[in-house]
Amino acid sequence: MTGRRTMNALGGAIAAVLSLAAVAPIVLADAPWPRAARDLLATAGLEDTGASNLVSAIYLGYRAFDTLGETIVLLAALAGSVSLIVAEGSSRGAGKNLADKAKPLHTEIVNVIAGKLAPIVLLFGAYVMLYGHSSPGGGFQGGVVLASGIIFIAIGRRSGGLGRIDPSLTAFGHASLARIEAAAFSGILLLSFPGVGRAVEAFRVAAWNRGLGIPAVSTIIALNVAIGLKVGAGVALMCVLMLGGNDE
């Protein structure tokens, strides 16, 4: 036992030294930081994209292709965990019945969370998602808040704590969640291709010249909505499957 503990301490020390060695050149080097890109983004970023939140302006207005990569990472993580959950559930389905474990947890706390808090959380998520261009937030943040709301509703549905809300209104089945995620991901793929951005911009300028006002920020709003739906549906799908929502 003590041998294992010293091994652990040794490993921790080596990890600390390695991370110091990785960070040290950045701290010690006296070369000036590159400033051209930073200054350009700080001065022209808001005007170029029409957004008033510089973070959104950069990661959706200039670097939508990077954002596409981030969503692909998220998609891979979700695909892996969902396949694990599904395989695990099916392999021991004979031994353990998921419905047996779903004890009725009908308490006041669950009632309040599922029946009263969940709609507010969903509304807040939609707000964060839709107003990401002008206030703090964006697709990723709003999507996770939306997923929290859907998880609340899933918990309430399992325990019968939804109060007076009609259960059929809250049918966030995993099949529909998966469909929403796939559709939203296709939307991100389409919107973040460089040529599509150019085409949309050309269309927008042409429409602007003919008196049809489409603000420049509309691309960012569309991307935020697509990312929010994708992240929200994906995370909620994983958690609903985990909670044992296999009953439909």
Partner: protein, 77 residues
């Protein structure tokens, strides 16, 4: 204020590492996330604060609690 929150974050993380009851550890991690979200908000990064609160305190706690329920609550080592 920042130092106090950082200290509490360290305390929460250390408790989460050391506690033998995994459920207590998961709840300590969740509290640590809430404190970090407060810290991000104080440091004028409200969008990161929203993410930290939703992911750290919300979704990841659900995942941890589910994993603990499916396995064992006590750390045996």
């Amino acid at each position: 204020m920042t130092e106090l929150i950082l200290f509490l974050v360290c305390v929460g993380s250390a408790y989460a590492l050391l506690s033998k009851d995994l459920l207590h550890g998961a709840i300590a991690l969740s509290a640590t996330s809430v404190l970090s979200a407060l810290l991000f908000f104080i440091l004028k990064a409200p969008d990161v604060a929203i993410t930290e609160a939703a992911v750290g305190a919300g979704v990841s706690t659900v995942i941890f609690v589910w994993a603990i329920r499916e396995t064992e609550r006590k750390d045996r080592s």
